[in-house]
């Protein structure tokens, strides 16, 4: 079977703060038989500006996404649901005229990693192992833009269920936002932190030893708070758990 051509949309936060998540995404896609391209002129989807009320600035940056991916081939896959929500939901509304048609075509080609693997590659699980002795209790945090924005909850859970060495626990009120919210986390830091605390406390109450998500914004917010509080709670991107040899 010829390799399936896909394009990696790494997203700025993964690029700059969590490059290993990008590398693991590439390794996983290649393991699943994809040939991965990385359009080098990509920067950011523009969401921070749009969400903060600066659509003109967002468009300037979104233009780079359009230019970087418009002439590429195959699905565009990102390890970050929120940025995919930006492309799928907001791009077609932000643009008009000829650019809107390009944006709509790109939106239809853009997937977050779990939906691409489960929905497009038809793999319910891809293996993976949580390292260490025994079963680590993990709580999955559904990022809001994936849950509410894209309506995706099953795909990441399906992949997580295929991981050995861990068991899934369900914290109370798991549907609540963790309080990251992009620039919200900077502007209304106290509220943002209180929301993180509820998320962390309910995870601990459920016996979780680790929190897993696909949004590195949520992850750095939750881990940053857990570290400040000195909590014994690890935080991982889902793709970290999908390594075949438990390389975490």
């Amino acid at each position: 079977m010829p390799a399936r051509r896909v394009q990696l949309f790494v997203t700025c936060l993964v690029d700059l703060l969590y490059p290993a998540v990008g590398e693991r995404t590439v390794a996983l896609l290649e393991r699943l038989g994809c040939e991965v391209g990385f359009p080098g002129s990509q920067t950011c989807c523009g969401q921070p500006a749009l969400s903060s009320g600066y659509p003109d600035e967002a468009l300037k940056v979104a233009d780079r996404f359009l230019d970087a991916f418009a002439d590429t081939e195959g699905p565009i896959v990102a390890p970050f649901g929120s940025c995919v929500h930006m492309v799928r939901h907001h791009y077609p509304r932000l643009y008009d005229g000829e650019r809107a048609a390009i944006a709509a075509r790109l939106a239809a080609r853009t997937y977050e990693l779990p939906s691409f693997i489960v929905g497009e590659l038809g793999r319910q699980t891809v293996g993976g192992r949580y390292p260490g002795p025994g079963l680590t209790a993990v709580a999955y945090h559904h990022e809001c833009h994936m849950r509410y924005g894209l309506g995706v909850t099953d795909a990441p859970m399906s992949l997580l269920r295929g991981v050995t060495g861990c068991r899934i626990v369900e914290p109370a009120r798991g549907e609540l936002c963790c309080g990251f919210g992009g620039t919200f986390s900077l502007k209304l830091g106290e509220i943002s932190v209180a929301m993180a605390d509820e998320k962390l406390d309910t995870a601990l109450e459920a016996g979780a030893q680790a929190i897993v998500s696909t949004d590195v914004g949520c992850l750095m917010h939750l881990e940053g708070r857990a570290r400040r509080r000195g909590l014994q709670l690890r935080v991982h991107h889902l793709v970290d758990l999908l390594e075949p040899d438990g390389a975490l």
């Binding site: 790494v10 700025c12 993964v14 690029d15 700059l16 703060l17 969590y18 490059p19 990008g22 590398e23 590439v26 990385f38 080098g40 002129s41 920067t43 950011c44 921070p48 500006a49 749009l50 969400s51 903060s52 009320g53 600066y54 659509p55 600035e57 300037k60 940056v61 780079r64 970087a68 509304r93 809001c144 833009h145 849950r147 509410y148 924005g149 009120r173 549907e175 609540l176 309080g179 990251f180 919210g181 992009g182 919200f184 986390s185 900077l186 209304l188 830091g189 106290e190 509220i191 943002s192 932190v193 209180a194 929301m195 750095m220 917010h221 881990e223 940053g224 708070r225 570290r227 400040r228």
Partner: protein, 482 residues
């Protein structure tokens, strides 16, 4: 923050204060309990009906109403008058309050009973009546408590949700001199009922809001769970209903659907405990008021029609988006500083406050009070795209004040990140050139202090340091090109 610095109380003004910047520990336990109950009931509701289809239908009913508003209002007015009622048009809050006061005076009324009404709160009706020397008491238990404490309602449906039973017991103990046990809710309710019963019997006028008005018959529908609405609209000689013009709907088929949707969304129950349908005053020999007055309030609503915010007028005031909102959950209704709180409040407050004047968007920091998580959109029984509207409003409120530092910051950011070379240069600067500065603060790639504009982050959280070798460099090192 701009725009929301005024506190304007009294007749004819939306209450607008700067929103809270932190959680309110005095109310969060009460809110968390109430929101938890709501979430349980909502799950039940979704098992009872084809929720998504019901939402579609509810949205269609509301969108028909808002799109055809002038026609439906004309029909409503004609049918109310034909049924013997009287209709008053108020362009703004001042006029609406003046109408109510005038009707009271014409009726020689000095004592009024009020039903719970967010529109009444919106126009400052309580203070307006007090100023006019009309003794008006709130008869909804939650509103009665809030009024007695000198507070404001903090939730569209549950005005006293921020208070605990203990606070209510304290209030009633102070009021009556009797001792109340917070756990004995039956005694608390019994006490309020006794106090209120006397007020109902003495009242000359009953004043309510409405939940919807059926244009085809001129009927006003009001839902409730306590029986106070029935008494308010039937015992006094005069009934005055104040409604926002957008609450009209075309027909009874729509009414039947929305009157199920509203309690489903609000409480997870398919019907309110009781619903009053009022079509004009009492006919000969019937019980009921001699006069029924309908005050139609525009208050900035017409100006929202035909704009990208039109769907905000679809709101049926169920309060679901408040309970679903993770930010409301932390700051409470008063945290918004506005009459309407929660996600819908953050949207409609600035829109209504401009009162038809498009150049003015007050209350403008409210749209920031959201993480844009989308839980409100999912909860909304009429599918208002609240998150998209909040994003658009953030833009409009910024436009009002282009001088702010944030705008300059985003302009600079857009210049840098709209070109791959300068994007990579910022990454290299952050990840490598500043490394010596940060490595002193960082441990395992995390640091306890971050520079501007990220300094707010490290007040409560450690910050992840930029990686010295970002992904795009790793890719180039391993694969070349790029």
């Amino acid at each position: 923050m701009t725009g929301a610095s005024e506190r304007e109380l009294g007749p004819g003004r939306l209450v607008i204060e700067p929103p809270r910047r932190g959680p309110d520990p005095a109310v969060t336990p009460n809110l968390h309990r109430a929101a938890g109950n709501w979430a349980t009931h909502r799950a039940d509701a979704r098992r009872r009906v084809e929720w998504e289809q019901w939402r579609e239908r509810a949205r269609d009913i509301r969108s028909d109403a808002v799109r055809n508003l002038p026609e439906l209002l004309e029909m409503l007015e004609a049918r109310v008058i034909a049924a013997g009622g009287q209709v008053h048009h108020a362009r703004n809050a001042e006029q609406a309050c003046a109408d109510v006061v005038r009707i009271c005076r014409d009726a020689g009324a000095t004592r009024a009973v009020k039903g719970k009404s967010m529109t009444g709160e919106e126009i400052g009706l309580g203070p307006a009546l007090a100023l006019a020397g009309i003794d008006a008491v709130e008869t909804d238990l939650g509103e009665y408590i809030v009024q007695a404490i000198g507070d404001r309602p903090s939730h569209i449906v549950a005005p006293a949700v921020h208070l605990s039973a203990a606070q209510v017991a304290d209030l009633f103990t102070r009021e009556s001199g009797r001792r109340f046990d917070p756990d004995d809710t039956a005694a608390l309710v019994e006490y309020a009922r006794g106090v209120l019963r006397a007020r109902f019997l003495a009242a000359d006028v009953g004043i309510t809001g409405i939940n919807l008005a059926v244009a085809e018959t001129g009927t006003l529908a009001i839902v409730e769970s306590e029986g106070n609405i029935r008494l308010t609209t039937s015992l006094p000689r005069v009934h005055i209903a104040v409604m926002g013009i957008e609450k009209v709907i075309r027909d009874w088929s729509g009414a039947a659907h929305l009157l199920q949707m509203l309690p489903l969304a609000a409480h997870g129950t398919p019907a309110a405990a009781s619903t009053s349908f009022i079509t004009g005053p009492a006919r000969d020999g019937d019980d009921g008021p001699e006069e029924v007055h309908l005050v139609l309030l525009d208050g900035g609503r017409s100006a929202i029609r035909g704009t990208p915010f039109e769907e905000a007028l679809h709101c049926i005031r169920c309060g679901a988006c408040l309970y679903a909102c993770p930010v409301y959950r932390q700051v409470g209704g008063h945290g918004y500083g506005s009459t309407y709180s929660g996600p819908i409040g953050a949207v409609i407050t600035p829109l209504l406050a401009r009162d038809g004047d498009a150049a003015e968007l007050r209350g403008s920091s409210l749209p920031g009070l959201s993480t844009l998580c989308g839980a409100c959109v999912e909860a909304c029984p009429v599918k208002i795209p609240l998150d998209d509207q909040l994003v658009m409003l953030r833009h409009l409120t910024h436009q009002r004040d282009p001088a702010r530092a944030e705008a300059a910051l985003f302009a600079a950011w857009a210049r840098l990140w709209s070109r791959p070379a300068s994007y990579r240069a910022t990454a290299a600067t952050a990840g490598r050139a500043l490394r010596p500065l940060w490595s002193a603060l960082a441990r395992d790639g995390w640091q306890r202090r971050a520079p501007f504009p990220f300094s707010g982050w490290t007040e409560g959280r450690d910050a992840r340091a930029p990686d010295p070798e970002p992904f795009h460099l790793r890719w180039r090192r391993v694969r070349g090109g790029g």
